[in-house]
């Protein structure tokens, strides 16, 4: 019963937030600049939550997430612009191809641990970017023209699905297996968990949603270029997850919202923007090294106290 109540609570909250956003955009209270910021915010949340599954839950330190964003962005752009198929289909196929890319990258690299894995995923992320840079079909370095059709509605639906799927995955035997791998891989293996399978599965699911975010990302601007998906983009996503607290889904959501707002407002001060942004990060890491939320979830503050996630 409790689980079902939680689900409906989440859905009602989602509808309310959606309604407020839609109303503000429809009535013109938020101009194009701000409604664009809202969509960008949602894209960042999806990216943060998808990387949270890989780093925060499964404990695999991947820093090539922008590569899968790029796959989703380019594949979905090709589908709407070259094949002129509907946007919904483009987003789904973008996600699937990104997931396949995740499998392809994950199967060899997830044998590595810690720093080695980080460097390998960083390398793969760059390889994906360079591949797009050299394909004439998608415009090479000059980039590819994409029509601007991402809306608050389409982005919000994607966000709700992302959060539902990832939190459902986390709160099941599969999510517990992933957390067990994060906590102690040797013990997880000794308890009968196929560690390679779960690492690759979490990586592929994370890549799928990065691909979904990519579809929204490419259709939120008029042009996409390989430079949008450099390793700095990967670090941006990584910062959301670390700042929010490794292992906390709501933490990465909050961090993504916060940092998107901060960096958008700081655009008025181009000279000092990166300095202030960096200072915010330094201050948070000094005073909350475990991230904004630690490993807790926002729901922990309401319901009964729970020690850690994984099964409810």
């Amino acid at each position: 019963m409790k689980k079902i109540n939680k689900f409906w609570l989440f859905l009602i909250l989602a509808v309310v937030i959606y309604g407020i956003g839609q109303a503000l955009i429809q009535t013109g209270i938020l101009n194009a600049f701000y409604s664009n910021m809202l969509i960008l915010m949602i894209i960042n949340i999806i990216l943060a939550v998808s990387l949270h599954l890989v780093i925060g839950i499964t404990g695999q330190f991947s820093i090539g997430h922008a590569g899968f964003l790029a796959v989703g962005a380019y594949v979905s752009a090709i589908i709407t612009m070259k094949f002129e198929l509907p946007f919904v289909l483009a987003i789904i196929i973008g996600g699937i191809v990104a997931a396949l890319a995740g499998l392809l990258v994950g199967i060899p690299t997830l044998r590595l641990r810690g720093d080695y894995l980080a460097i390998a995923t960083l390398g793969f992320g760059e390889i994906i970017r360079i591949v797009f840079l050299n394909i004439e079909y998608v415009g090479g370095a000059a980039g590819m023209m994409v029509s601007n059709i991402s809306t608050w509605t389409s982005a919000f639906v994607c966000l709700v699905i992302t959060i539902l799927v990832i939190s459902n995955f986390t709160n099941s035997r599969h999510g517990r297996a992933c957390i067990a791998i994060r906590e102690n891989e040797i013990a997880a293996d000794a308890m009968g968990i196929n560690t390679t399978f779960y690492k690759v599965a979490a990586f592929a699911i994370g890549s799928f949603f990065a691909g979904i975010a990519g579809g929204l990302f490419s259709h939120n601007f008029y042009i996409i270029q390989p430079t949008n998906f450099g390793f700095l983009k990967s670090f941006d996503i990584l910062i959301f997850v670390v700042l929010g607290g490794l292992g906390s889904l709501s933490g990465s959501v909050i961090a993504a919202i916060l940092l998107t707002v901060i960096s958008t407002y700081l655009q008025q001060y181009p000279e000092t923007r990166m300095i202030i942004y960096s200072l915010v990060l330094v201050v948070v890491m000094l005073y909350r090294p475990q991230g904004l939320m630690g490993t807790r979830e926002i729901t922990d503050f309401f319901g009964k106290k729970k020690s850690a996630k994984g099964g409810n």
Binding site: K3, V165, N168, F169, S172, R173, H174, G175, R176, A177, I179, A180, E183, N184, I186, A187, A188, D189, A190, M191, G192, I193, N194, T195, A201, G247, T295, K305, K306, S307, A308, G310, G311
Partner: protein, 260 residues
């Protein structure tokens, strides 16, 4: 098939170093057997051979007549061998209950998609896992800690939880790697009782590594002794106690009398 576990001439070589070689062992259903030896004798290495952490470079390991060589640790666990670790390896950020639930993982069958879409199989199987895990914690008197993080338990309880977790994977053979390490005499005594209890309750075969001779001599029916990666003796506690090679391994060679 008489023996539950048969180790035939197993060994492993790391580069030029033979960590364990010519290791022979037979465990019968229901036995409680000890594995002892001085530090660095290869006890934990032989556990790692049995559980698939290392692949033996020579010899065979047969469990229930099935060859285990080359299986990954999770496959070995699923075929019925479960273990604890010398340095406790709990999932420290997970709750006590979830630690046990992880061990039930492979007994449930619902797929990832079933969990993502919250199909009926997800709810029914998760419910069974929850109930079984709670039952287990009750048997081990850990149920009052169930929502506590594993890392917050006192040391003795962490050992207990590790054994509980290993048993939740429903093994036929349980390997305990120094279960009494770091325990005071009172805790060691409780542990001995616990081992005797689980053996009866779960119809287990147990192999344990231990340095605490009182414990080993007190509860083991047979003992194997390793030194420098070689099996030097095997037999009942009394035989081992008076075995010249064992005394030599632990205390050193007898010095000829003229030097005294």
């Amino acid at each position: 098939m008489g023996a539950l576990l048969q180790v035939k001439n197993a060994g492993i070589q790391f580069g030029g170093l033979k960590a364990v070689s010519g290791f022979n062992m037979e465990l019968n259903q229901g036995e409680l057997v000890g594995l002892i030896g001085p530090n660095g004798a290869g006890k934990t290495t032989s556990f790692n051979l049995l559980t698939g952490v290392y692949v033996p470079t020579e010899g065979d390991i047969l469990f229930n007549g099935k060859r285990l060589n080359g299986l990954a640790p999770y496959q070995v666990t699923r075929s019925g061998i479960s273990r604890t670790f010398q340095n406790i390896r709990l999932f420290s950020e997970l709750s006590v209950l979830d630690n046990v639930k992880v061990a039930y993982h492979s007994l449930a069958k619902h797929s990832i998609l079933s969990s993502i879409f919250r199909l009926p199989s997800h709810f029914s199987e998760e419910k069974v896992m929850e109930e079984k895990s709670l039952e287990f914690l009750k048997i081990f008197q850990l149920d009052r800690y169930k929502d506590e993080k594993a890392k917050n338990l006192p040391y003795g309880q962490q050992r207990r939880l590790e054994i509980a977790r290993a048993l939740a994977a429903s093994p036929k053979l349980l390997l305990l790697d120094e279960p009494a390490a770091g325990m005071n005499p009172q805790e060691t005594h409780e542990l001995m009782e616990l081992i005797a209890f689980i053996r009866k309750q779960f119809d287990l075969t147990i192999l344990l590594i231990e340095h605490d001779m009182a414990l080993v001599m007190g509860i083991c029916e047979r003992i194997y002794v390793l030194d420098h990666g070689q099996l030097i003796a095997a037999g009942s506690p009394d035989e081992i106690r008076n075995h010249p090679k064992v005394i030599e391994a632990y205390l050193g060679e007898e010095v000829p009398s003229e030097h005294a």
